[in-house]
Each structure stands twice: as C-alpha cells, then as structure tokens.
C-alpha cells in the first residue's frame, strides 16, 4: 500500500513536469471546451450544457493516450527494470498510474464546469453526484484501457498506432463529436457496442437531463464501465512486462478481444431492448425546439 502511495506521488510529480502533459491534458481539453461551447453552442447556456457531456467525455477518455505512452516509454528506457528489482508489484505500478491519472484529470473537468458557469453562464449542471461518479468511473476505465494498450504493444510506434485506431471510433461513433441523434441509424446501432457511447450518453443523461444515479441508463453506463475497468485492469496486470526485451505473448491479443465481450453483449441487449438512441434524440430535439421558437427566453430577462 505504501509503495502504491509513493509511486502515485512520483507519477503525479513527473506528469506535471512533462510538457506533453500540458498539451494533452490541459490545452487540448480546453480547446475542445471552447470550440464546443463557443462555436457549436454559440454560447447559449442550455446548448453549452448539452455539450458539456461530450466535452467532459473527451477529457475523461483522453486519459488512455498519456498513460499508455508513459508506461511504454518507462519500459523501453529500462526504467521499469529498475523497479522490478525492488518489492514493487505490477499492481502497485498499474494502480498508481490510474490514480495519478485520476488526480490529474479531475481538476481539468472541474475547471471545465467552472468556465461553463462563469464564461457561459450555465446555472444548472444536472445531477452532480451522478456526474461525479460517471467521471470517476470513466477516468479509471479509460486509463485501464491505456494500460492494456501498453501491455500488448512492444514499441512506442505500435502504441501510437493503436491509440489512433482506438481514439477515432471512440470520439466519432459515440456522440462525443457529433451528437448521437445526428448519426445515421446504422451508426447508432454500432455505437451501442462501444464503451465510449455509455460514458458520453450517461454523462449527457446526468448533466443535461438531471438523471440521478439510479436512473436506468446511468446505471447501465456505470455498471458496464465498472465491469470493463475491472476486466481491463486484471488483464493489464496479467500481461504486464517489466523488461523491454520480453515481447508480448501471442495469445495476449486474443485476451484483449475478451475485454470487448461485456460491450458486445450489452450492445446486443441495448440494440434490442434499450432506449439510448431515442433518449439522445429527444434530448437533441428539446434543444432545437425551444431554441428555434424562442431565442428570446435566453435574452428576454435583460
């Protein structure tokens, strides 16, 4: 436990000293935030609130980039070897990565809410508890995804390629860039197989529709992401390699496919019985409805 704590502290310190961190964890999320809120939402508070879910999701999902890269770099440079000869365990190493990442991501999310409040005058942030729990679970589960990427790739280049391949569908098919209601029916069906969709839609539900934590779809989001985080963390601990010259086991890539199983089943279930796309549609419509008929309400109090 003490090893875990001191490692977490080191990871936080090192990340704060890293310029790449500044870009990926500060500049990029705030870039998205102002793009969505200022340009897409044209600064209208209710629309900004609608886009807050996707913006926060991007911040939360971005975790896996930095984590996988840092871990692979540590391995390639022989830094992990040095820890290997100490009593530090793979779980210490991995859990400290996740917690350090969480501690660093949380302020970014809070500042996004702060800007939404002060710059764009959003007053209602929906259900804060559900939002906080979703952000936490999301950060941990996407960080675990990063750890899995690190454990199935041998070189930094490989890691970056896999990250790109994962990132694009995650942001384009989940509603994080284009609202789910915007996407064709067939893409909506596909999106229900992606973990990112459950994060984005869960957050929208909590922030925009003020759904509490026991709401059906918030619970589905939380449940699926928790299961997935547990599975990916377990797998990354199993496949963890300290030594740069130890290559990834052949069956490892198959095991990774196994982490997709929960979302495969959930996707089938949701496609048949769920109402996530319908909810997304009505949330989107509620936005367009009053907006067209009454831009005045936003201005009228003045």
């Amino acid at each position: 436990m003490r090893n875990f704590a001191t490692l977490t502290r080191m990871r936080i310190q090192l990340t704060l000293r890293n310029k790449m961190f500044l870009f990926f964890s500060v500049i990029m999320p705030f870039g998205f935030f102002f793009l969505y809120s200022g340009v897409f939402a044209k600064g209208q508070p209710e629309v900004v609130r609608f886009f807050l879910g996707p913006v926060v999701s991007l911040t939360v999902m971005g975790s896996f980039w930095g984590l996988s890269a840092a871990l692979v770099m540590f391995r390639e440079q022989g830094i992990l070897r040095r820890f290997h000869v100490t009593p530090v365990t793979p779980s210490d190493m991995l859990a400290s990565s996740i917690v350090a990442n969480f501690v660093l991501a949380l302020p970014t999310v809070l500042i996004e809410f702060f800007f939404a409040r002060t710059v764009f005058h959003v007053t209602n942030f929906g259900d804060l508890l559900a939002t906080f729990v979703l952000v936490s679970v999301g950060t941990v589960s996407f960080a675990s995804l990063g750890l899995v990427v690190a454990s199935v790739t041998n070189t930094m280049q490989e890691t970056q390629v896999i990250n790109q391949l994962l990132w694009l569908p995650l942001i384009f098919l989940s509603g994080a860039t284009f609202p789910l209601a915007f996407l064709p029916k067939i893409v909506q069906n596909v999106s229900l197989f992606l973990p990112a969709t459950y994060l984005v839609q869960g957050l929208r539900r909590a922030i925009f529709e003020s759904a509490p934590i026991w709401d059906r779809n918030v619970l589905i989001s939380l449940g699926s992401l928790v299961c997935w985080a547990a599975l990916t963390f377990f797998l990354s601990a199993q496949l963890f390699r300290w030594e740069p010259e130890v290559k990834v086991r052949r069956n490892a890539k198959l095991l990774v496919v196994a982490t997709a199983i929960p979302f495969l089943l959930l996707g089938l279930w949701e496609n048949k019985f769920g109402n996530i796309p319908a909810q997304a549609q009505s949330a989107f419509d509620s936005l367009n409805g009053p907006q067209k008929s009454a831009p005045p309400p936003a201005d009228s109090p003045k």
Binding site: R2, N3, T6, L7, M10, Q13, L14, R17, N18, F74, Q77, G78, I79, R81, R82, H84, V85, T86, P87, V88, T89, W242, E243
Partner: protein, 306 residues
C-alpha cells in the same frame, strides 16, 4: 560452505534456441566480493538476473540469503540491492527524490541523506536525472542499491562505458563497501576490475565457468610462467615456437604470438636465433607477468576484449 550466503548449482537458462547459461555452479561467502569475469554474451548477466529474481531459470538450483529467487522473489527483494545494466530513471526525477522513492519500498531502510553524502551527490540533490553525467548516474545507481541496507549487493558491469577516471571513482566506492564486509556479486569484462576488487573470480565463457578461484590462484594455475607477446614480419608455425627453450605454451592470437615461458631470457635469445635462421624478423615484443587475461586466453583460446 557453512557460511555461504548464495549458492548456484548447475544453473541452466535458454532463450529460444540460444543456451545462455549451461550448468553454472558457484557459491559466495558472506562478506566476500565475488566476480563473474567474461566477454559480452558469456551468460554473466543472465546468471546475475536469475539471482536477483528478475528471470526464471530453466533448471538447476539457486539460493540467495536462504531464499529461492523464483518462488520467494518478494521476500528476496527486501534483502538484496542491485545496480542493473541498461536501466534508467525518469528524466525529470531529481536525485534526492529517486533515493527517497526507492527507499520507501523497503521495510529496512538507510538514511537517504547519508547515502547522498557518501556518494558525493550532495550538490546534485535537486538535479534532474537527465542532467547528471555518466559517472554521477552510476554513483546514484550504486547509492540506490544501498537504500535498504541489503545483505547481498549485485553490480552488473558497474563501470561499463565510463571513462577511466570515473571508473577509478567507482572502484573506490566498491572498495569501501568491501571494507565494510558487504557481500557483493559483480560481473565485469575488465580484467583490472576483477583483479583489483574481487576476492574470488569465476571466469565465464559460453555459459560455463571455465575457472574459479582467487585472482592469485588463477594466475599461478597458469603455471607461474611469464608471458611474452611478439609480432613477427612473417607468419611462423606455432609448433616451431613451442620448441624454443623454456617454453610452456605458444599460440597465435589475433596475428600476434603469445608465448608462456618458464625462463624468459633463454626463450628470447632462442627466439631471436630461430627467427634469424628462418629469415624472419621481430616487429614488437612485450613481456608481462601473467594476468587473468592469460588465464582466460589459456582456457578459451581467445582474448577477453572483443
């Protein structure tokens, strides 16, 4: 054998088709500095990494501080300290932070301040790892190996890649540890290092121990002969040189001839006569008392340096 703190019996380790270690056996007594001397790729690092619990062995028996490095690696890691080869620390970690971090992992700890002072790193306490010189990095690596006041220290090529002056600094540090009666197992491919630092040396080649003993024992084992190394204008049959007066052994090595002689003056006179008779000429001649290098050459027919 009673007070040996580390035992290796018939250790075997392969990587795919390559047999890196083929039946190595030795034991190390408490307070001893034990060296594994051999060229790169001889299996030294594999051996030491198995002892540290970093790698699994294929067969054989290994015990360090009474523990099995494979099954009891967690307990073992509290008892050992190591300076590894080809390792690094995060660029943006400061010297003192590194010492504090690594000492936090252990039950038994040494004061990091004292280590900092002892290894001459006080002025560098707040320097990033990436800004240290090679020698400073190595001093830090040795300091870090001591954070848990270990029972056994493993140094894998502690001076590889360092310039001669820095190398001597590291020797001083290791000699000081030796005076404190620390048990040290080290690998090296520098003869000088093994002769100067090690109480006993195992010469390792192609995954096997080819000779084992104190440096003095090993040298006298090479027959108490003097080494004469000559370069000649024309090649000479090795057999002819063996028949010179007082010669124990003669062999060709990298274009030179190494002659081991019981009576060097006679041998040299005889050599010169022999060459003149054959119309050959002496280009260079070196005479040295035997070193571990000669033992190595005698055992393997090759030079240690690659």
């Amino acid at each position: 054998m009673a007070d040996s703190i580390l035992q290796v019996e018939n250790l075997v380790k392969s990587y795919g088709d390559v047999q890196a270690v083929r039946g190595v056996s030795f034991s190390v007594d408490e307070g001893e500095v034990f060296g594994l001397l051999g060229p790169n790729g001889a299996g030294k690092t594999s051996t030491i990494e198995i002892l540290e619990g970093l790698r699994d062995l294929d067969s054989g028996r290994v015990s360090v501080c009474g523990l099995d490095p494979q099954r009891e690696s967690q307990a073992l890691k509290h008892e050992i300290g190591a300076a590894l080869q080809s390792t690094s620390l995060p660029d943006k970690l400061r010297v003192m932070e590194a010492l504090r971090l690594f000492s936090s992992f252990y039950k038994r700890r040494r004061n990091p301040e004292e280590l900092l002072k002892r290894f001459g790193l006080e002025e560098k306490r707040n320097t990033f790892y990436s800004q240290l010189s090679g020698g400073q990095k190595q001093r830090l690596a040795l300091a870090m190996a001591l954070v848990n006041d270990p029972k056994v220290l493993f140094f894998d090529e502690p001076t590889a890649g360092l310039d001669p002056q820095v190398r001597r600094e590291i020797y001083d540090i290791i000699e000081e540890l030796k005076r404190e009666k620390k048990t040290i197992v080290m690998t090296t491919h520098y003869i000088e290092e093994a002769e100067r630092l090690c109480d006993r040396v195992a010469i390792v080649d192609h995954g096997k121990v080819v000779a084992l003993g104190t440096p003095r024992e090993l040298k006298t084992r090479s027959g108490g002969t003097t080494r004469i190394e000559v370069r000649l204008a024309k090649p000479e049959a090795g057999g002819a040189l063996k028949n010179l007066e007082g010669v124990a052994d003669a062999r060709e090595l990298d274009g030179a001839y190494v002659i081991h002689s019981h009576r060097p003056p006679k041998t040299i006179v005889d050599l010169v006569k022999h060459l003149e008779a054959g119309g050959n000429e002496l280009i260079s001649l070196e005479i040295a008392s035997p070193s571990l290098e000669d033992v190595f050459i005698e055992m393997t027919g090759r030079r240690l340096r690659d």
